[in-house]
């Protein structure tokens, strides 16, 4: 398999040996709407090329043109040296929606795809066996596609795309709604595929994933705004990031926010997270002294400062802000008196005591104990099937618990009484809006059903429309909105009645990074007004916004604490290696340590070691023994995702 893919890689192109994809002056118009206005880029064989951008930026249109599904209005596109339509047999295209037949088994789905692409029967058997083994799907070839988890479905879809040995893979947001562990595995597989010479073009709303691409293009408003490797983009931004941790975080934020808005300040941008603030600045030393000075003036406790590289999200957000793409922020029109949090600090909004849920023999939730206070944002994280959604459904009274006690808004009995429910807000993972009603009708419905006084309807609905950037489009059918926008409206609909307790189950799935930032700003506003927020997410960078977090594995909470505490509790160290042969180095390292400890990020390797002092030396020697040159190595701080994957994998090792 490896050899055959390599063979493909070297022969790719022919007349145009350097580029798999060459796009020049690409335009696309739908009626009066300009989706793409002049895009140029090229992708080399074996490269992983990432496309990032907000919803409606033109990513999907680009994919459809590259895949030969749609014609460009003007411009030149060559794929594998041919027009896209003719190159179709040599490319695999994976879309957001699972392109699988739910009622066929894994093997039947594969065979169907192979049949469509005329894979010879003899080749099919070998390739199917090898692909399924590589994706970890070979134990149950006869399981129906609909019985698979989201992560496994995507791996199967990838198998289907790879069965005809394409030379180019087009992936349009392939991992939306897939949990972090499966996502990381998926990208490890992609790195392997790319190392075999297959070119990969991927779009993703998750910027931590985009960091794993060789090159990244930021697309907005139908144009490519920036293109380059992660390091190039970071250097281009010419800003540094300072993490600020303080005890009186709210007051510190208020002080620093004032400075950011002053032109003379060295502080350019401030972003608030659950237990820290991120400051962007062109000059670290100057910014640090400015922060300390400001804090001192207000007699606040001295914060802990830590300088770091900017993240890809910083690049993305800063650039789009310059373009004026930032969604409008308007404070929510609160009518409820804010809860006096200092006196009610001890008041618990949601509590669970040894909560259990069994479905037949299967124990979905085991002994979950947690407490969420008013004004707190509490995150529940876990892989698909870890029991998050079941827990949330029990806590909000949709599912009866098999065992254990719980309380909701001070009540322990009859949690589904109307009085209790009118104090709750709930946004489920699935669609919470009626597709066959207009946006305004949906919002009017939720106003009415939560008994918001008639005279406030207008103001609240206007707030949702403005926040979502949908003013003037309120009479559009909700079903015609893109997923990300729908999520924003659904969020608006679930908070209009100013709930005391807010349940958010994957609220930002499919929402672009800018809108996600706005989302969290609004969620923080509610928390400040005293609302208790319980949120689940697959997006770990976003989980930094929570005040406290719990990781769930197989129905149990295995770690709990603030984001900083959780990262600090991780044993060992994350090490970044730059080597001459990334894929070979990764393969070699994976033979010596558990595979989850090694992952490929573009041209770099991330390695998690429990005792780096003793382990790193021998590993480097073995790499050098295999003629792999090590160009650079440095320790990195753990991200929350590293912490999550480490925690989950260690928990699974203990109880397989």
């Amino acid at each position: 398999m490896v050899d055959s893919f390599l063979a493909h890689g070297t022969e790719a192109g022919g007349s145009a040996p350097s580029a798999t994809i060459r796009v020049q002056g690409l335009h696309k118009q739908y009626g009066a709407v300009k989706a793409l206005c002049g895009i140029d880029f090229s992708v080399s064989p074996g490269e992983i090329f990432g496309l990032i951008g907000p919803d409606g930026a033109g990513k999907t249109t680009t994919f459809q043109i590259l895949a030969g599904v749609m014609e460009a209005s003007s411009g030149e596109v060559s794929v594998l040296g041919q027009p896209p339509r003719e190159a179709r047999l040599n490319l695999g295209y994976l879309t957001q929606a699972f392109s699988l037949y739910a009622d066929l088994s894994i093997l039947e789905n594969l065979r169907y795809q192979a049949g469509l692409r005329k894979v010879p029967q003899a080749d099919f058997r070998d390739r199917a066996t090898e692909l399924l083994a590589r994706m970890g799907l070979s134990q149950f070839p006869n399981r129906l596609a609909r019985q698979l988890s989201g992560g496994m479905k995507q791996k199967l879809a990838l198998c289907c795309a790879l069965i005809a040995q394409p030379r180019l893979l087009l992936l349009d947001e392939p991992t939306t709604g897939v949990d972090p562990v499966s996502r990381r595995e998926f990208w490890d597989l992609l790195a392997g595929v790319a190392a075999d010479g297959v070119t990969v073009v991927a779009a993703t709303p998750y910027l931590d994933e985009a960091e794993r691409c060789n090159r990244i293009a930021l697309i907005y408003d139908g144009k490519i705004q920036q293109i380059g490797t992660l390091a190039e983009l970071q250097a281009d931004l010419a800003l540094h990031r300072i993490e600020v941790r303080a005890d009186a975080l709210g007051e510190t934020e208020a002080v620093l926010q004032g400075a950011v808005s002053r032109a003379s300040s060295a502080l350019v941008d401030l972003q608030s997270f659950g237990d820290r603030l991120d400051i962007l600045t062109p000059n670290v030393a100057q910014a640090k002294s400015e922060i300390l000075q400001l804090v001192d003036q207000q007699k606040l406790a001295i914060p802990r400062l830590e300088a770091n590289e900017p993240t890809l999200e910083n690049v993305f957000v800063s650039h789009l802000r310059q373009q004026g793409a930032d969604p409008i922020y308007r404070a929510f029109p609160f009518y409820r008196k804010p809860k006096a949090l200092s006196t009610e600090a001890a008041a618990v909004a949601i509590s669970a005591d040894r909560l259990q849920k069994c479905f037949g023999e299967f124990q979905a939730v085991k002994d979950v104990t947690l407490a969420v206070r008013y004004g707190e944002i509490y995150g529940l994280l876990g892989a698909n099937g870890a029991g998050k959604t079941t827990t949330i459904k029990m806590l909000c009274g949709l599912l009866p618990a098999t065992q254990g006690g719980m309380s909701l808004a001070g009540e322990t009995q009859n949690l589904h009484r109307a009085e209790v429910r009118s104090r709750l807000g709930y946004m489920s993972q699935k669609f919470t809006l009626y597709d066959d009603l207009t946006i305004r009708q949906n919002l009017e419905f939720y106003c009415g059903v939560y008994s918001i006084p008639q005279k406030l309807h207008r103001e609240k609905i206007d707030w949702v429309l403005e926040t979502c950037g949908l003013v003037g489009r309120e009479n559009q059918m909700t079903g015609s909105l893109p997923g990300g926008w729908k999520q924003r409206v659904a969020f608006g609909a679930s908070v209009m009645h100013e709930p005391d307790i807010l349940f958010l189950d994957e609220p930002t799935s499919g929402v672009d990074p800018l809108a996600r930032r706005q989302f969290w700003r609004l969620i923080r506003d509610f928390a400040r007004q005293g609302t208790a927020v319980l949120v689940t997410t697959h997006y770990l960078e976003e989980a930094e916004n929570c005040n406290r977090l719990a990781f769930m594995v197989a129905g149990e909470i295995v770690a709990e604490g603030s984001p900083t505490q959780i990262k600090a509790a991780q044993p060992g160290q994350l090490i970044e290696l730059v080597t001459a042969h990334t894929q070979r180095a990764s393969d070699l390292l994976r033979q010596q340590v558990e595979p989850w400890r090694v992952s490929i990020f573009g041209d770099r390797l991330h390695l998690v070691l429990d005792c780096p002092e003793q382990e790193l030396g021998p590993l480097i020697q073995s790499l050098q023994g295999a003629q792999i040159e090590i160009r650079a190595q440095r320790p990195l701080p753990f991200t929350l995702e590293d912490a999550f994957i480490g925690t989950v994998q260690r928990a699974e090792e203990v109880s397989p």
């Binding site: 459904k393 909000c396 949709l398 599912l399 009866p400 589904h416 109307a418 009085e419 429910r421 009118s422 709750l424 709930y426 946004m427 489920s428 699935k430 669609f431 919470t432 809006l433 009626y434 597709d435 066959d436 009603l437 009708q441 009017e444 419905f445 939720y446 106003c447 009415g448 059903v449 939560y450 008994s451 006084p453 008639q454 679930s494 349940f503």
Partner: protein
């Protein structure tokens, strides 16, 4: 005024308005409400007729006399039989009946006119295809009747029986079978449409996942369901009017009873059929499942109700079972009001049974509605 303002600010109104808006955008639902009832009424009313006429008759006339020809013409006079063939002999006739080419065969013996002229009785042989027992019975009875009349005509002193029944048909003097069927089919149409439409609107929330969200709002189960029932009820009453209009103008039904009483009781039955649909929807998981289970329930409900086949012709066990069939009661009410014009007192047992059905079905649905996510 105050009450109206309170209504418009209530949760119930928000829920109802949402349902109405969804229904107005749902062309499929409007189609389901108009097209199938019309077609079902026309098909059942016009095509389903137990009247037996134009049966094919084969005749082997060994007598070949004017008397035998007269006898044959007496038989075919009423269009019940058409002479379709004159086979050469008895064996050939028997073969044709066996093949199904002929429904009935008549063999007139060579001694036919001689026996009659001598004042003796004579034997004619009749072969009837008994596969369709109903038609065979009617054909037999008709032939018997014609023979009796013919005999009386020849010999006025001849007495067949001492007591002769003089039958007068009440309520349906023309014995028009559509009068019997149409009230039953109105009930059938309300059952099918009501249960299908209501189950589909309820299951749709579960299918697309909005049900969870709805259950998290302060709205009570009964509010959610009632908001679904009210607009459907109004639409299904439109179906009742449509069916009544067709009954009156297409099938010339007499509507002898109080029409408003008929509407009110039809409304009661509409609640029962909506109740069946909602109950099925809370039991099923998907739209497909609910449509299939409603078939499973609707067919026996219709068969046992007497809407199409008379209850009296069923075995005793099923006659008793049919008391548990709400449609049976509605069909009885509809026939009584449309054809007989009886007073409400006579219908009280049926009305009370329907009322009980409506209350039980809807209250089970409300109870199940909240727990159905488990």
């Amino acid at each position: 005024m105050n009450f109206i303002r309170r209504l418009f600010e209530s949760r119930f109104w928000a829920l109802t308005l949402k349902e109405i808006r969804q229904i107005l955008k749902n062309r499929q639902l409007i189609f389901l409400l108009i097209f199938p009832p019309t077609v079902q009424l026309l098909i059942f009313g016009l095509a389903l007729s137990p009247n037996v006429d134009h049966l094919s008759l084969g005749i082997v006339d060994y007598a070949r006399s004017s008397e035998s020809r007269e006898f044959v013409s007496a038989l075919v006079e009423n269009d019940v039989f058409d002479v379709a063939a004159y086979p050469k002999n008895q064996a050939e006739l028997g073969q044709a009946v066996r093949n199904g080419q002929l429904i009935a065969g008549l063999v007139i013996p060579p001694s036919f006119d001689r026996d009659l002229n001598q004042g003796d009785s004579t034997d004619v042989q009749v072969l009837i295809d008994g596969v369709d027992a109903n038609t065979a019975g009617i054909a037999r009875g008709y032939i018997q009747q014609t023979i009796n009349q013919y005999t009386r005509q020849l010999n006025p002193q001849f007495k067949t029986a001492l007591i002769e029944t003089q039958t007068r048909f009440l309520y349906n003097p023309g014995l028009s079978s559509s009068w019997f069927f149409v009230p039953g089919v109105i009930g059938l149409v309300l059952t099918l449409t009501g249960s299908l439409v209501s189950s589909v609107t309820v299951i749709r929330e579960k299918d697309i996942g909005t049900l969870e969200q709805l259950l998290m709002t302060p709205a009570a189960g009964w509010e959610i369901l009632l908001a679904k029932v009210v607009p459907l009820f109004i639409l299904l009453m439109g179906d009742v009017l449509l069916a009544s209009a067709m009954g009156r103008f297409v099938f010339q039904l007499p509507f002898r009873g109080n029409f408003f009483l008929f509407l009110a009781l039809s409304g009661l039955y509409v609640f029962v059929s909506i109740g069946i649909g909602i109950l099925l929807a809370t039991l099923a998981r998907t739209q497909q499942q609910v449509v299939l289970t409603s078939f499973f329930f609707n067919v026996p409900i219709i068969q046992l109700s007497g809407a199409i086949a008379p209850i009296e012709s069923m075995p005793k066990f099923f006659q008793i079972l049919s008391w548990l069939d709400p449609l049976r009661h509605y069909v009885a009410i509809a026939r009584s009001l449309i054809l007989k014009g009886v007073a409400v007192e006579a219908l009280l047992p049926n009305i009370l049974t329907l009322l009980m059905f409506a209350v039980v079905l809807l209250s089970i649905s409300v109870r199940r509605f909240r727990s159905q996510l488990n």
